[in-house]
């Protein structure tokens, strides 16, 4: 025990010594409260993603990651440095978010992070990254909790809409389409739980009735028992803002349950993806999905879609590619604002200064609109629409308002 202590203290002393005699006479002194990232001339500026790029919910993260990649292509270089994208898979759950955040926080060369994908990941991962001095801008976290003044962590911002908006629009659409009794399903994730609650509250405000609020586990495959339970409550619509795997099972099985043969179904942006249509099968026809309103996006969006098609040979996989593009662009703009170049050409980026610059974003014209960040990190210019799936063939995926669009915009 004693020997171990001696060895450890020697190690600590040695590392201190090494750290002390690193750069012999630093020409630049970092005065930033959170420290600086130093980028040697010719070295790339490293930006990381923390997204779900593997597993059943991968379409969400891959879609966002592509948005970041196109933003990097468009930017080409930043203050004479190339931009390098590194990253970790977050798995769309709290454990994965925590693991990815811990890994990213250990890499001191990372300047900022675009992520996370799922709100639960941010709940666990954002505090770790924030404490490490990093700033993360999420393209697809929508849970209201994350930017709630009481729970917001300092380094967290997002370009995705707050679900206070999405849930309300979904409820208004449901009520306007004549539904008076609705049931909801969530999977215990921060995103789904809060979104269905916003929906339920708004729907009740409008005069509707929430007849059942069910919960499942994201790994469940047999949804018939829970749907039977819901059927006993007699809803006209089931709202399940969950993810691809479980959402697919619910959609595929809903018509098999007696009493639900004609019930309307509605999901949210987490399953706004051809992958979901693939998983759900025939029953997906006629299902409503709320999502960012692509037709209300800025002029640059058509151009973005063209680049996406050339680069990846397909249409976007999910709903948040443009938000990811904007998140990356905000980070690049902030880096340009705060980076200092010293005599030998080394670039210094103060972490606190970068964070402040990101939060100070005002009237930034991005693909998704004019972005202005609030003090708690809500940067979105939220525009939500409701789409209807008109064709269960995933190859026809082409969201929009045109006659041949699938899914097709129906509200507002």
């Amino acid at each position: 025990m004693k020997r171990l202590f001696v060895v450890l203290s020697l190690l600590v002393a040695a590392s201190m010594l090494l750290a002390a005699c690193g750069p012999s006479t630093p020409p630049f002194e970092c005065k930033d409260a959170l420290g600086c990232v130093d980028i040697a001339p010719g070295a790339p500026i490293r930006v990381a993603y923390a997204m779900v790029v593997e597993g059943p919910d991968a379409s969400l993260g891959i879609d966002s990651k592509r948005g970041v990649e196109i933003a990097i292509d468009d930017k080409k270089e930043l203050l004479g440095h190339s931009i390098e994208l590194v990253g970790e898979n977050t798995g769309c759950n709290a454990e994965g978010g925590q693991a990815a955040a811990t890994k990213l926080a250990a890499d001191k060369s990372i300047v900022a992070i675009v992520g996370t994908s799922c709100s639960s990941e941010a709940r666990a991962g954002a505090p770790i990254l924030s404490d490490a001095g990093l700033t993360l801008v999420s393209a697809s976290n929508t849970a209201p909790d994350l930017t709630d003044p009481a729970k917001h962590v300092a380094g967290y911002a997002r370009t995705a809409h707050n679900d206070k908006v999405q849930g309300a629009v979904a409820a208004e659409f449901a009520y306007a389409s004549g539904v008076r009794k609705a049931a909801t399903i969530h999977d215990g994730s921060l995103y789904a739980d809060q979104l269905q609650q916003v929906f339920a509250n708004r729907f009740k405000e409008l005069g509707g009735e929430i007849v059942y609020q069910a919960a499942i586990a994201p790994t469940d495959t047999d949804m018939r028992p829970v749907l039977t339970e819901i059927a006993a409550a007699g809803p006209e619509m089931i709202y399940y803002p969950i993810f691809v795997a479980a959402g697919g099972f619910v959609t595929a099985q809903v018509r098999e349950v007696s009493g639900l043969e004609n019930v309307k179904t509605m999901g949210a942006d987490g399953i706004f993806s051809p992958d979901f249509i693939k998983a759900a099968g025939e029953n997906v026809k006629g299902m409503y999905l709320s999502s960012p309103d692509f037709s209300a996006f800025g002029a640059g969006y058509t151009d973005f879609l063209k680049k996406h098609e050339t680069k990846y040979g397909e249409k976007p996989l999910s709903a948040f590619h443009a938000h990811a593009y904007d998140a990356a662009s905000i980070i690049f703009a902030a880096i340009e604002k705060v980076a200092v170049k010293d005599a030998d050409g080394t670039l210094h980026i103060g972490r606190q200064a970068l964070r402040d610059a990101i939060f100070a974003t005002k009237e930034f014209s991005g693909l998704t609109g004019k972005l202005t960040c609030s003090a708690t990190g809500d940067c979105a210019d939220p525009k939500i629409a409701v789409y209807e799936v008109v064709n269960p063939d995933p190859a026809t995926w082409n969201p929009g308002a045109a006659a041949d669009s699938n899914p097709k915009k129906v509200y507002p």
Binding site: G188, T219, D222, R224, P225, K278
Partner: protein, 353 residues
């Protein structure tokens, strides 16, 4: 007399009794109030039972694979969940080929049988290869070694499938012949559920006959009792073990096929949770015991399906369905406390390996 009885009771026993009384109370009170609430009619209960039995028979078919292998080798084949996954996954490609060629529309039943056979065959090939590559070289090694290679094999198969065929879910074709309801003894049932139940029960009956009535079954039982003596009696032990794995693989492939036509999604990680549940079912029924695995599977499926509505909905607990695993595993723990060898008991030879 009373005194000595009191002396033998320890504090742990008392706590166990109290806890089990509380649980029994919750179960009984919850059931009564659910049944009296009038929220659910007979049809709802019938549906829940059918769902439970269909899911349970799939668990049972997988559980048989665990139990057969345990009976003969005294080891848990943790790669069994991947053997189960590989069948429907491989047959997915045949099914979608048949669908795009139009053959499936012309000959739906024939193509279903073809796809099912292919699923069973693929699972069997994987099961036998896993045994040959990962377990046989370690037959004489300490018992923990094959356990670790089993976990290794499980990961290997998972990631090979993921690497070859992608991480996303694949949608199994939806067949018109499986849609719609049929009337059986006055009960309206979905055709697909009837097919799943009949196939599962048929396979289980076949297996039971095979093990109990045929020469091969006798050899399997002999190897399970004592490998060395069986070898002395002229039984080729390695071949019997391979056959056992093959049978387990066929059953797992069939289970996977039934799962795939019922839930219509296949993916590389689909084996993990059902494999875990089926292992639980095997332990619940008494590992190594063939009727036990069947019973355990059906019991687990039923409890998962009915439990939340029957026990918890009546207590006014919101969204009880997310607690279905809690219910199932709580009952498991209590059954194992009172019957540590499972419902039907572990059937092991007196002379253990």
């Amino acid at each position: 007399m009373t005194k000595s009885w009191l002396k033998r009771v320890s504090a742990t026993d008392v706590v166990m009794w109290v806890v089990s009384l509380i649980i029994a109370g919750i179960v009984i009170y919850g059931s009564i109030s659910s049944l009296q609430s009038g929220k659910y009619d007979g049809n709802t209960w019938k549906d829940l039972i059918v769902y439970g039995l269909t899911q349970g028979s799939i668990y049972a078919l997988i559980a048989l694979g665990y139990t057969l292998v345990y009976g003969i080798l005294r080891m848990i084949n943790f790669a069994h969940s991947e053997i189960y996954m590989s069948g429907p996954f491989a047959s997915y490609f045949l099914a979608s080929a048949l669908l795009t060629s139009g053959f499936m529309d012309k000959q739906p039943w024939l193509s279903l049988i073809l796809v099912a056979l292919f699923a069973m065959f693929s699972s069997m090939v994987i099961a036998v290869s896993v045994e040959r590559i990962a377990y046989r070289p370690l037959r004489k090694a300490p018992r923990l070694a094959p356990l670790i290679t089993a976990i290794g094999a499980s990961f290997f198969i998972q990631y090979v499938f993921k690497g070859l065929f992608g991480a996303g879910v694949k949608n199994y074709p939806e067949l018109d012949v499986l849609k719609g309801q049929v009337n059986i003894f006055g009960l309206e049932m979905y055709r697909i559920h009837v097919i799943v139940l009949i196939s599962a029960v048929g396979l289980m009956a076949l297996l039971y006959t095979l093990v109990m009535k045929t020469k091969l079954g006798k050899a399997m039982r002999a190897v399970s009792e004592d490998k060395d003596s069986a070898a002395l009696m002229g039984i080729n032990v390695d071949q019997i073990i391979s056959t056992t794995f093959a049978i387990g693989g066929v059953l797992a492939g069939a289970a996977g096929f039934l799962y795939a036509i019922m839930f219509r999604q296949v993916s590389w990680y689909m084996g993990f949770i059902p494999g875990l549940k089926a292992f639980t079912a095997a332990v619940l029924g008494g590992i190594g015991n063939i009727p036990g695995a069947m019973l355990g599977g059906l019991f687990l499926g039923l409890i998962e399906s009915i439990g939340p509505t029957l026990f918890l909905a009546g207590l006014g607990i919101p969204a009880p369905n997310q607690l279905k695993d809690v219910i199932a595993f709580t009952l498991l723990v209590f059954i194992l406390i009172f019957r540590p060898t499972g419902i039907l008991g572990e059937r092991l030879a007196t002379k253990k390996a």
